[in-house]
Every structure is written in structure tokens, then in C-alpha cells.
Symmetry: D2
Subunit: 141 residues, 4 copies
């Protein structure tokens, strides 16, 4: 995460407007909220690619590790573009590299990563990623 | 709030996409989050009309009463339009009537109201609404 | 909600500490968060009385109406006592009157209400309240 | 973060009850909320040690990096103990190692870290940590 990141490093973009209550007492979006932008982008993409139906999917992604580096503040009413590329498509896990950009800015306000491990919805035991995950997500690497 | 409400009853509209964590265990946006849509729409409008600079404004709006009636569920990744009209421009208070619509739907998922009382930022004593509030908000009635 | 409310008006109390991100730019707990205190108190009580198992219960309570009047601000790190009594045990609905007190204060910071309608988890059609609801909740009126 | 962590590795503990809306569609506390437990514990401690007055302090801590590894799920109505020790007291920054424990469990549900950089409230330029930070936080290492 130490080197600089640009928009062209990412493959999927989702516009997310900030909300009034995202701001904390210092007038900036609270550090916690950045992770909500991350998991909104990832889950929104999975639904769009028909890889997730959170009411019915037999396997579900549990979050096992997340991280964020904060470069510059975001404040309501900023509109953010949450961006990611897939860093690693593992046997039963997916690692996403993410960034948050303000509109019209080329340098991210924040960068981070997010790791999902796929498990059986009922037993919560790890499960291999179905082949359609590889088919549909391969070009987001 | 008992009669039916339509889009044409409202004057200001703001698109707000849901977020993954808005959903609760029953797969619907949690009742609490609706109020975040309400205060995001109101504060976004006030900033747009240059009536609010939350870092500097001498007077600020404190919320004294809110209410919401839930008609039909909202679920991630729905995109909501938060709508309002001003119900009452008082001496030092503003009452907003609000509704949340799904895109392409004419009946609201929720309706409610929201009352701001304006106070001095430092003393937190009530203050009369400046004339520019009446000028700019009159046509949102 | 217009008359004054005291601790003795309520039957169930739950201590809820505020969190850092509950505060908004004005240094107070945001109006939205009060509703999270409300639904935490109600659902915590229902679980304690063995009336709710949110993973398995055949019937679930959907929120159809909520309201809050804000009397005095709350700020992190305040610890709040969320209090309620049952205002009405209907055929398929329950209405709770709620209040939020700071520790050692007799007047509430906020008062409000919260209405659950019970529905079948799968069909989401209204269902009559089982008799154990009446048995266990009668003394919270 | 790879080795196992125990309660005795931490110096400050804060009890934080979960809230109803912390749970996501899978019936677990959402990954985002863990960071709210982290920054609540850190800021609560700083206020307790009289190192932070968020309305008036000349210098404020901005979050520059956070990370969390999720070991086992947490679900409402679990009560969590958020624990930390100070990993590094830098020139103008503090790095906290954190963990979340369920009551009566010796292994953490989650571990992570959190880095504050201290800046001037107005200019937002980095500032050296005042000596009282070192005095009061030294024994939390």
C-alpha cells in the first residue's frame, strides 16, 4: 500500500454519496465509514455479476481481514467513487485491493484491502469458489 | 401522515444508494437508517442553497422531533430517492415532510417528518431564521 | 409525548454506552442514533424474555412506525439508559413508549415510541401474537 | 497479528454492548462495526486520561491507518470487551494494538491496530505529542 495508486490501477468503480451522519466531530467522514464504502462496493459488484444472492446463496463470503490507509479527508456532502481490483482469487478466498476517490481527483483519499473467505451458509465451513466466480471475476484482476 | 403520498407532493429530491451494512438480519434496511436518509436530504439541500456551512455557520439547526411510518421494505442494493417539502417555516424552526421512493415507483416506501430548531452555535439559544432562509426555502413549501 | 416523563413511567431499562462515531459535527449524538438505542432496548428485552430468536423465530417483528422527541443533547462518552414500557399489546402489534436517560438524571433526554407488527418470517403476512407474548409482556405495561 | 493473543497482552479494557443494527444479513456483527469498537475504546481512554477534549483540544488525533483480522463472529446481544495496548508512542503519532473479546473468553474474536497522527486542530499540520501523553500513556505499552 506504500506506493501511489491511480484510477487506472482499478477495474470496478461505484459512486457512493456521503451521508450527513458519516461526519464526525472534526467535520470529516469517520474512519469507520470507509470500510462501509469498501464492503458496499464489493457486495454491489457481486450482486451485479449474479454471484451473490444474500437471501439464498448456498455459499457466502465472510470477511476475515480488512485494512485502510487514510491519505486525505473526505467530508459530507462529497461523492466518493469506491474502486477495486481483485488482487488474488484463491481456492476459497478473494482478496480485493480498494481505493476511494473524490470525483475529478486522480489520487485516492484512501486505499486498502478486504479479504472474503467463502463458507457454506449453514455449516460455515470453507468452500471452494465455484467456477463462475473465476469466470466473472478474472477480468477484474 | 395517514393519507397517501405521491411524488408530486414533494419539492426536493435526492438520490441515495443503500449500503451493504444498512441491511439488518431480516434482509431489509434497518428502521434506524431511514432517518439517515432524512437528515442527509435536508442537510444536503441546505448546503446546496448556501444556508448551511457546518464548520462556520453562526446558527445551526438542532433536531427536536422526527417521525417515520414504514410502508414497504427497502433492501440493499436499492437506490432511494429521498424527497421533501417544507411543511412549516416558523419563527426559529422548520418542519419538513419527507418520503422515500424507490426509483420508478410512485408510492413511497416510507413517509415522515423532521423538525429543526435554529440556535446560536455557541450559546445554543434559539435564534430567528435569517431572511435568506425564507427567500430560498419559500418555494419548497 | 407532551407531558413530562420520569423514570417511574418505564418498566424495562438497558444501559447503552455511546460510541465515538455516534457524535456528529456539532459534538452531539446524531438524531438517527437515538432510534438505534430504541430498537436495541426492545430487541434485547425480547431476546431476554425468550420471545425472539432472530435466526429461527417463525414470526418476526417488523417496524411500522417510530417517533422521537429530543429534549436535551447526549454526547460521547455518555452512558444512556434506554427505558420503555408497553403502551399497547394489540392483536398482531406491540407499541412501546421509550425514553433515554443519562445516568443519575430523572428527566429524559429523549422520548418516543416504536411499533412492531408481527409477521410470518417467510410470507411476511401479519400473524397473531402468540400467548407467551401476552404472558411475558403484560407486566411491562 | 499472526500469533495468538491473550487478555494479558492488553492494558486497557472497555465493555461495549453490541446493538441490534450492528448485525448484518448473515446474523453477525458487520465487519465495519469492529472499527467503531476500536475507535470508541481509544477515544474513551484518551478522554478518561484527560488527554482529549474533542471540543477544545488544540491538537487532535487523525486516523491514518487501521486494520482488523476477524477470528470468530460476534452477534447481538453479545457484550464485547475492547482491549488495547500502545504499540508505539512516536514523535507525533500513536499506534494501538487492539483486540475484541467476548466476556469470559480468553481468545479474541478479532485483533487489529489503529494509528493516530496528532495535528493542530486549525491548520491540520502534524504536531509533537505533548509530554503529558508520554507520562500518562507510557504504562499502557
Amino acid at each position: 500500500m506504500s506506493k501511489s495508486h491511480k484510477r487506472e490501477d482499478y477495474k470496478y468503480f461505484l459512486e457512493i454519496p456521503t451521508r450527513w451522519m458519516d461526519n464526525d466531530v472534526y467535520g470529516h467522514v469517520n474512519n469507520v465509514v470507509y470500510y462501509s464504502f469498501f464492503d458496499t462496493a464489493v457486495n454491489r459488484a457481486l450482486i451485479e455479476f449474479e454471484l451473490l444472492n444474500y437471501n439464498q446463496s448456498e455459499i457466502i463470503g465472510l470477511v476475515v481481514e480488512t485494512s485502510c490507509t487514510y491519505h486525505r479527508p473526505i467530508s459530507f456532502p462529497d461523492v466518493i467513487e469506491a474502486a477495486f481490483k481483485i488482487d488474488k482469487l484463491g481456492n476459497s478466498s478473494i482478496r480485493y485491493n480498494l481505493a476511494l476517490f473524490k470525483k475529478d481527483e486522480s489520487e485516492p483519499c484512501a486505499t486498502g484491502y478486504f479479504v472474503h473467505v467463502y463458507v457454506d451458509r449453514l455449516t460455515r465451513k470453507p468452500r471452494q469458489l465455484p467456477h463462475q466466480f473465476r469466470e466473472k471475476l478474472e477480468n477484474l484482476k
